[in-house]
């Protein structure tokens, strides 16, 4: 393969830059997600810091060439820190007029625009509801337009292989990818390896995809189309081994790790739902770790089978999104009542109802906190970045087992599908949390299933098959210690308070919050979940302008960290940016009686850094001191 990837002598200008944002946009059938993830993998392997934003429609194949069918993949890569996928893009690849129309607004003035000119026929323009041809009507004059006959050039490169026209056409995304590799002076080697593995049993497709990519690369070289190429040196990340990781992959690896560290069999009960299904796909591959995945008949069976597995002694999890959470509600209450360890992952998406299945939102926080009948408190942990999902899964598993409670992990579509470099931890340095099942009778007259540990208030975990510990549990109210059914008024109040106290006591696990940025000052930003990157970037920029701002990003949403109230009072103003109508805001106002202000975006998209900065400037005044 060495001839394929050898960099020819440089005839054009090469500029070293710090960062770039590139977006691949095309029809759902154009392979944009693969193209984007291949480019991502390549730059990550080279050592750039990255953040990605795959954005695709809920329809698997909307009518080709139409606006609803447009699928996009955005990547921000840099030689320094990357916190977001980027507010606007430096390079846009548009495979058809619909992709151009849907994405052009995000392209920077003078940005590079590569379009597939073969897809701008009258018919294509009509499907994109475009009256005039943008390639001819001067509407693109403020960009550096590269009109490339992707369809024809791919055909010329591949026609000698004797494969059908459709298969040839499907390779044009790799022609575009080859062009981008040339533009950013990147090796094609990682993608060559991927093609070899992906089409292992289809040698013709291996050849076709490699040739298309090489043709794109050579096209740039031969035509000197761009006149300039860019070089983004590797980022200065902390030493260690890295890999590129998405949020859903990270959750899966986190649970396998939790299984190994607890010594418990991992059981996943799940029903396919966007954007959570990938966790099931991932975990179903890890049977060599004893992982048992169960694709249940519905969301309810998914969680109740997990409850059964937990009852039998497994580390049990169930993974879903908002609509599935709604269906699991009653079973969550059962897990609270029988005090059994269980981890529930809610990969949030736009709602209500089916809503925006493939778009991100943070609007399930109050559902996670309160979405059950009666008093049924559940600890909640939120992941902040894609790779942080690994640690969230591990921590949720540890707390569930230690306190004998169900724990909810909140992620969202943006974290689930977005990727970033992950510094691979040393397995031996991750603390183990071995489980001790009850084996002894713990009362004078027999086994007491609700006799609690005084520090954690956890009840013992006695799995069926343990001689002498036969006992009954269930959803009916029970007496503490004995577990016998009990409907007495004061007993019920006592049990409600014990269950609440147990969850509240988890605060002893939670480190005090230490704000990023200024430890006190004019503004505190309190947030949670996937807004972490955009807020970090905005904070850095605003503090560089002299503003005194702190940032607390909450990992534990129930219970909240013990010192949060004190920290909040050290700032004049509190801003709570969320991708919802103000759910954490509601909690903070209720709990701390603080007149916090919300910044709320409900568009199925993450915050842009600029949106946050604009709000900060609005609150603190345009001019810093």
């Amino acid at each position: 393969m060495s001839t394929l990837i050898e960099t020819p002598p440089v005839k054009h200008k090469r500029e070293v830059i710090d960062r770039a944002v590139i977006r691949f946009a095309g029809d759902s059938g154009d392979g944009m997600q693969i193209t984007g993830s291949q480019f991502t993998n390549t730059v990550a392997l080279y050592g750039n810091d990255i953040a990605t934003f795959p954005d695709f429609p809920a329809e698997i194949r909307a009518p080709a060439g139409t606006l609803p069918g447009v699928s996009g993949y955005q990547l921000h890569f840099s030689s320094s820190d990357v916190y977001t996928p980027g507010d606007s893009v430096d390079v846009l690849i548009a495979m058809n007029p619909a992709a151009l129309k849907m994405n052009l607004a995000d392209l920077k003035p003078n940005g590079i625009l590569i379009v597939n000119s073969d897809a701008f026929t009258e018919n294509d323009l009509r499907k994109a509801q475009t009256k005039t041809n943008p390639l001819e009507d001067h509407s693109l004059d403020k960009y550096r337009l590269f009109s490339v006959e992707l369809e024809r050039l791919t055909k010329v490169a591949l026609e000698h292989l004797g494969i059908d026209a459709k298969s040839i056409s499907r390779c044009k995304n790799f022609f575009a990818l080859g062009m981008c590799y040339w533009l950013y002076n990147r090796s094609m080697e990682p993608t060559v390896r991927w093609i070899d593995a992906k089409f292992k049993n289809k040698p013709l497709l291996v050849e076709a995809n490699k040739l298309a990519m090489k043709a794109g690369y050579s096209y740039c070289e031969a035509t000197e189309a761009f006149q300039i190429s860019y070089e983004i040196p590797p980022a200065q990340l902390a030493p260690g081994f890295y890999r590129n990781l998405s949020g859903n992959q990270a959750l899966a690896l986190g649970f396998v790790t939790a299984s190994q560290k607890s010594g418990l069999r991992l059981f996943q009960g799940s029903y396919p739902i966007t954007p959570a299904s990938d966790i099931l796909h991932e975990l179903s591959q890890y049977k060599d770790f004893g992982v048992m995945t169960f694709q249940a008949e519905d969301e309810i069976a998914a969680i109740t089978s997990a409850i059964g597995a937990a009852y039998a002694g497994a580390l049990a999890i169930t993974t879903t999104s908002g609509p599935g959470m709604a269906l699991k509600t009653e079973a969550l209450g059962l897990a609270v009542a029988v005090e059994i360890p269980l981890v529930i992952c809610d990969i949030q998406r736009g709602g209500p109802s089916t809503g925006l299945p493939t778009k991100t939102e943070q609007a399930d926080l109050l559902q996670a906190l309160f979405g059950r009948n009666s008093e049924a408190p559940i600890p909640i942990i939120a992941a902040a970045t894609p790779s942080d999902c690994f640690w969230a899964a591990l921590e949720a598993s540890r707390i569930a087992i230690k306190y004998m409670v169900p724990v909810i992990v909140l992620s969202d579509g943006y974290l689930a599908n977005g990727a970033e470099p992950w510094k691979i931890p040393n397995v031996d340095e991750i603390p183990a949390f071995p489980v001790k099942f009850a084996t002894e009778i713990n009362g004078p007259n027999g086994y007491l299933p609700y006799k609690r540990d005084p520090q954690t208030l956890a009840r013992p975990w006695a799995v069926p098959g343990t001689p002498g510990l036969e006992h009954r549990v269930g959803g009916l109210e029970k007496q503490d210690v004995t577990g016998n059914i009990n409907y007495e008024p004061l007993n019920h109040e006592n049990m409600v308070r014990i269950r609440a106290a147990k969850v509240a006591s988890i605060v002893q696990e939670i480190p005090d919050v230490v704000p990023a940025g200024d430890a006190e000052g004019d503004l505190l930003i309190v947030a949670w979940g996937s807004t972490h990157g955009a807020i970090t970037a905005a904070l850095k920029s605003q503090r560089a302008q002299g503003r005194k701002i702190g940032h607390v990003h909450l990992r534990y949403l129930n219970p909240l960290p013990a010192n949060l109230g004190d920290v909040i009072r050290r700032y004049k103003t509190v801003l709570v940016p969320e991708l919802n109508m103000g759910q954490l805001l509601w909690v903070l106002r209720a709990k701390y009686l603080v007149d916090a202000i919300g910044l709320n975006k409900i568009q199925g998209r993450p915050f842009k850094q600029a949106e946050l900065e604009q709000k900060i400037e609005e609150l603190l005044g345009e001019n810093s001191q």
Binding site: M292, A296, T304, I307, A310, A312, V427, G465, G468, I485
Partner: protein, 345 residues
């Protein structure tokens, strides 16, 4: 198995399976008889008490686990089969019995019931069918007869009832049987057959609710007429019934069945010989439909007992064992470093 080398074990008795909890069913409820039968059968199965788990949903029948001195889990309405599936997946060695009712298993939990059966999870399911909602005080159930006047249907129910046996066979259950609360010896024998079955064993138990649906199965249980209305199925025996054992079931040339009077040239050798072990569920389904046809008896006993399908929990665990045998046990450090990685120095 030789018992000589084993340490002496005090055999379990019915009393070992009784709890200290006050039984809170209405006096005269058919559930008492079922509880007694199960407590009598469990000690005879040669299984350690700690290896029994009784799982239930919601309803009168679902209080069952509280009265069994085994591991027990009273879950939520309709979901017992799913909870029990999770238990069996992790612990295939446990003997897991599900107690459920006509509302629990066929209405709110219908989905879980059919999926448990098609997967052939190794669970024993006791469906207490009293054709009424008892715990919510007397609404019609999915097995109530068409036109049933109940609390929520003062002008008669408009729903055609499910036949639980037909439903289970339709879901390709590998074991399907029926018994009656008041036929204690028949019930115990049926439970023993169920216990001996490897995969999902579905037992419908016709049960009286003397508060909200008294005489639910009167025509079958009434002493004088019962033998005319019930046919007891026994594998390998001809389908004969009647007080004088003078009626039988015969195949018609078109494959259907008919009731015939024995005598006048018709003898037992002309009748259908009951074959519970047939791999296909077609014949069992035909039998299950008899009671809905005028002039036919209601079958009790084991309709279907086909043991050749592996249990779900076994294939689940076998698949894991096969992958481990092929790939070796997973190495966590390797897993975390899988795929394309790079080193920053």
């Amino acid at each position: 198995m030789s018992t000589a080398t084993l340490p002496p074990i005090t055999p379990l008795t019915k009393k070992d399976f009784q709890t200290d909890q006050e039984v809170r069913w209405c006096p005269g409820c058919g559930d008492y008889a079922i509880l007694s039968a199960v407590q009598s059968v469990f000690p005879e199965l040669g299984i350690k008490r700690e290896n029994f788990v009784v799982v239930s949903g919601i309803g009168c029948s679902s209080r069952f686990p509280y009265y069994m001195n085994t591991f027990g889990f009273h879950t939520i309405h309709g979901r017992a089969p799913a909870v029990a599936t999770g238990i069996k997946a992790i612990r295939p060695d446990l003997e897991v019995w599900v107690a459920t009712g006509d509302g629990d298993a066929l209405s709110i939990g219908g989905n879980h019931t059919i999926h448990m059966l098609r997967r052939n999870v190794g669970l024993k399911v006791l469906l207490f069918n009293n054709r009424i909602y008892g715990l919510t005080k007397g609404q019609y159930s999915p097995t109530s007869e068409l036109g049933k006047k109940a609390k929520s249907t003062p002008f008669g129910s408009l729903d055609r009832p499910f036949n639980p046996i037909s439903l289970a066979i339709g879901a390709e259950a590998t074991f399907v049987a029926r018994s009656v609360d008041v036929f204690q010896s028949h019930l115990k024998e049926t439970l023993k057959h169920a216990a001996a079955h490897k995969g999902s064993a579905f037992v419908e138990i016709l049960q009286n609710c003397n508060i909200f649906n008294d005489g639910a199965w009167f025509s079958l249980t009434e002493r004088d007429a019962r033998s005319e209305h019930i046919i007891q199925l026994e594998h390998g025996k001809p389908l004969v019934y009647g007080k004088n054992r003078d009626k039988g079931i015969r195949r018609k040339p078109d494959g259907d069945i008919e009731v015939v009077q024995l005598g006048n040239g018709i003898s037992e050798s002309d009748l259908v010989i009951h074959d519970a072990h047939h791999p296909l569920p077609l014949y069992a389904f035909l039998l299950s439909h008899m009671e809905t046809r005028p002039g036919f008896p209601t079958p009790i006993g084991v309709l279907r007992d086909w043991n050749d399908l592996p249990r779900y929990e076994d294939v689940m665990n076998q698949q894991i064992a096969d992958v481990i045998a092929k790939r070796g046990a997973g190495d966590l450090a390797k897993l975390l470093r899988a795929g394309d990685t790079w080193e920053v120095k």
